[in-house]
C-alpha cells in the first residue's frame, strides 16, 4: 500500500468524521419531530390539567430548584421538520421560536439554528445540537411571581 494512498485514506477518514451525516427526504428532515412548550415556573398552585408530564416536571424541578410548581401555558407538537423552510414552534401568542434544520446526525440528533422571539423581538439566537431525550430549556423573563421557560424537545 503506497504512502500516498494511506495519506489519502486518512484525509477521507477525517473529512467523514467531521461532516454531519444528513438524512433528508425531499424538503423534510426524516424521522424528526419536535415538541415545544411555554412553562410558567412559580410557587403557585397549578391545576392538574395545566401540569406538564411527570417526566418533564421532574426535569424542570431538578434544574429550576428555586420554583415549586410548573404550569404548562401552551404547547406545540411539530411532526414535520422542514429542511427548506423556516420551522415555527408557537405555543403562545407572545413567545415563539423559529429554527432552521442543519440536518440530522447518524445518532438521530438534529443540528438547529434557532431564534426565540418575544412578540417582535429576538431574545436569543443560538446554534444547538438537539438530542433525543435531552431537552433544551431557555430561562426567559420574569413574570408576576415567577419566570417563563421555553422548552424544546426532539422526540
Amino acid at each position: 500500500m503506497s504512502v500516498r494512498f494511506v495519506t489519502f485514506l486518512f484525509a477521507m477518514l477525517i473529512s467523514i468524521a467531521c461532516s454531519p451525516a444528513e438524512e433528508k427526504v425531499g424538503s423534510q428532515v426524516k424521522d424528526a419531530k419536535v415538541w415545544g412548550a411555554l412553562i410558567f415556573a412559580s410557587d403557585d398552585e397549578v391545576p392538574e390539567k395545566s401540569r406538564p408530564t411527570k417526566d418533564l416536571a421532574k426535569k424542570l424541578a431538578k434544574v429550576f430548584k428555586e420554583f415549586k410548581t410548573f404550569e404548562q401555558l401552551g404547547q406545540h407538537t411539530q411532526g414535520i421538520v422542514f429542511s427548506d423552510y423556516q420551522n415555527w414552534v408557537v405555543p403562545s401568542d407572545d413567545f415563539n421560536l423559529n429554527f432552521e434544520s442543519k440536518g440530522t446526525t447518524k445518532e438521530g440528533s438534529m443540528n438547529l439554528m434557532l431564534k426565540l422571539w418575544q412578540d417582535e423581538k429576538v431574545l436569543v439566537k443560538t446554534d444547538v445540537t438537539l438530542k433525543k431525550g435531552s431537552p433544551l430549556f431557555i430561562k426567559g423573563p420574569k413574570w408576576r411571581n415567577g419566570r417563563l421557560i421555553f422548552v424544546l424537545v426532539l422526540e
Binding site: T7, K62, L73, Q86, V90, D127, F137
Partner: protein, 217 residues
C-alpha cells in the same frame, strides 16, 4: 489624490526605529523620511509594541525541558554520533514537505486527530449541546450549562425586562405548522386538525400572528 513623495523607508531602519534602536543622526534622517506619514508610522509602532508586550506577557521566555539531565545527555550523544557522518545535501522545500508528510509520525498524528475527533463527536452526541448563543439586546447576557441530573441543557437569559403583571400570556395548543404561500407565511392546526391561526413574518422576519379569517384563506 494623496501621492507619496518620500521613498519607502528602509525595512531594517524601520524595525530598529520600532524597537527604539535608532539614535543621533540616523534617527533624525529616518524621521525625515517618514515625516509625511508620521501618524501612520506611529500607529504601526504602537501596534507592534502592543503585540510584543502581549506575547511577552503570555509566553514564557524559556521553558525547562522535561528530565533535563537525560535531555542534555541525549543531545551530546547525537552530536558525538553525528561528528563522522557526512552532512546530507540540502533538500528542496518540496521534498522536505513531502518527507514530513510521509513520515510515520505525521501519519500517526493524523490518525490520533481523526480518532480524537470521532471520540469527541461521540461524546458530544450524549446530550443536547449549545454551540453558541447571542442576544441582540446588549443588556441581556445569555449563558448555557448542562444539568446532569435532568439530562437537560439550559440557556439562561439574564437582563431581560420583566413582563408587566397585568399582561396575560396566552397559551396555545398546536399540533402542526405548515408553510403556505409566500416565505414566512404559515398555517397552524390544532389537535383536531382545525385551522387555529395563520402567521406571517414582517420585513424583519418577526412573526405576526393573525386571527383566522377563514373566508380569506
Amino acid at each position: 489624490m494623496n501621492i507619496k513623495t518620500n521613498p519607502e523607508p528602509n525595512e531594517e531602519l524601520l524595525t530598529r526605529w520600532i524597537d527604539d534602536d535608532l539614535f543621533g543622526q540616523e534617527l533624525i534622517d529616518f524621521e525625515a523620511t517618514i515625516a509625511d506619514d508620521r501618524e501612520m508610522y506611529d500607529a504601526m509602532r504602537e501596534e507592534a509594541k502592543g503585540l510584543g508586550n502581549m506575547m511577552r506577557a503570555n509566553f514564557a521566555s524559556s521553558v525547562e525541558p522535561p528530565y533535563p539531565d537525560f535531555f542534555n545527555s541525549q543531545i551530546q550523544k547525537h552530536i558525538r554520533d553525528g561528528m563522522d557522518e557526512k552532512l546530507p545535501e540540502k533538500a528542496s522545500i518540496g521534498s522536505q514537505i513531502w518527507s514530513w508528510f510521509r513520515s510515520p509520525f505525521t501519519l500517526a498524528a493524523a490518525a490520533a486527530v481523526a480518532l480524537l475527533l470521532t471520540f469527541n463527536r461521540q461524546q458530544d452526541e450524549s446530550h443536547t449541546l449549545v454551540s453558541s448563543t447571542f442576544s441582540p439586546n446588549p443588556n441581556v447576557v445569555a449563558t448555557s450549562f448542562f444539568s446532569e441530573d435532568a439530562n437537560a441543557t439550559v440557556i439562561v437569559l439574564e437582563g431581560l425586562d420583566a413582563i408587566p403583571d397585568d399582561r396575560e400570556i396566552v397559551g396555545k395548543n398546536i399540533a402542526t405548522y405548515m408553510p403556505s404561500g409566500a416565505p414566512g407565511f404559515g398555517k397552524f392546526f390544532d389537535d383536531d386538525n382545525q385551522l387555529a391561526f395563520v402567521m406571517e413574518t414582517n420585513s424583519f422576519g418577526a412573526p405576526v400572528i393573525s386571527s383566522i379569517k377563514k373566508d380569506s384563506i
